[in-house]
Subunit: 210 residues, 2 copies
DNA sequence: GTCTATAAGCAGATAGAC
DNA sequence: GTCTATCTGCTTATAGAC
């Protein structure tokens, strides 16, 4: 988990980038020290500046990479032509899979947007974000047809995303409070895929009295 | 929102603490500069050290205050003797109310636990945390009695907390992505109380085929 | 108690040898 | 390309006047 999946070329430049990714994603821009990146990459600070001019530039590349990788997955599921139920299932599966492999990423994105919203909008975020309209229309149609219980679409989307993402954000907290060992927590988080699906579809069952 | 509700005595010491609270909660330990706290409190850096020895000490007091205020509310609802349905409603109401008045606090807690887990456990967290056991037992009883649809209790708790907290964490992100103006987002977040309740109770309806 | 001035330490960035 | 050594600037922290 949270390891480079591709390990591309193993040049120094790449090693630095990977090290930077690990640290930035966990500690954010302010919390990260160049020394720590250098240590993890097994080189010294001077080389960081040789390859990436400054701390901010390095951060920018890492952050862009994180966002850029996350976007297509979301777009794909939201904008696809699958029927609603399958779309929701696919979304939950994709989403939780993605996060499982990048545990710190949601925290990173949300935290950094909170702290440097201006900067994030101007330098990191891409212009064309996934549009949920299609999904929302689909949902309204199903409600009108009486196939599912009425619900304001935005709330459904927010509910689904919340249940997928939040447990990973709260993982360290939960580990402390519940005193759960790492392995138990991992197992629990894996169960989330079916748990969220069950919960959502249960909530969407049409009301027999209607 | 996010203003001191009591504004106790308005001594210098208090003004510093309040200023520190605002900044720390928004920017975290690393992102906060003593200068900014001093500016907001309308005094200079030297006084910060006069009243609170160091940045870390000041942070510690603020963080402890935040946690300490949040805990009893959670304990109260979880450990009360209300019947399950009312307990869930009370929990959602209390929780969303609490967060509405302290928008940055959940981000603060989760973010800081992520970045300094060791430090948090040792210095900030109190020893006696609220125990969800009673609630979990109550839930199991209701399931056994067939009053609600079977669900693993831990997942229900996680689902509820997720749906309450996450939208507030994602607020700045959502504002950017959806291009929603501040007012619209606030209105949406206010709807969450009933939205979450509806969703949860809909999901808990017993299955007619069972 | 509150200020100004300054010390001390750290982190980002550069120069220059190899 | 990679290193050591160094500079610069910023941030925390203290000394000392009022």
């Amino acid at each position: 988990m949270d390891k480079k999946e591709t390990a591309t070329t193993d040049t120094t430049e790449q090693r630095i980038f990977d090290a930077a990714h690990e640290v930035f994603v966990q500690k954010g821009l302010d919390g990260t020290k160049m020394q720590e990146i250098a240590d993890r990459a097994g080189i010294n600070k001077a080389l960081l500046h040789y390859y990436y001019r400054s701390k901010e530039k390095l951060y920018e590349m890492v952050a862009k990479g994180v966002i850029t990788r996350a976007i297509p997955v979301i777009r794909q599921t939201l904008e696809s032509d699958l029927p609603l139920k399958e779309k929701i299932e696919a979304f939950i599966d994709f989403y939780i899979n993605l996060i499982s492999k990048n545990t710190f990423v949601p925290m990173f994105i949300l935290g950094e947007v909170n702290k440097h919203p201006q900067y994030f909008v101007e330098h990191i975020l891409p212009k064309d974000l996934p549009q949920p309209q299609k999904f929302l229309q689909q949902l309204e149609a199903e409600i009108a047809a009486g196939h599912i219980r009425p619900i304001r679409p935005e709330h459904l989307v927010v509910n689904i995303v919340s249940m997928c993402v939040f447990p990973f954000l709260a993982k360290p907290m939960a580990a402390i409070i519940l005193g759960m060992p790492e392995e138990e927590i991992k197992a629990f988080l894996l169960e989330r895929k079916t748990a969220v699906k069950d919960f959502v579809f249960a909530a969407l069952r049409p009301d027999p009295t209607a």
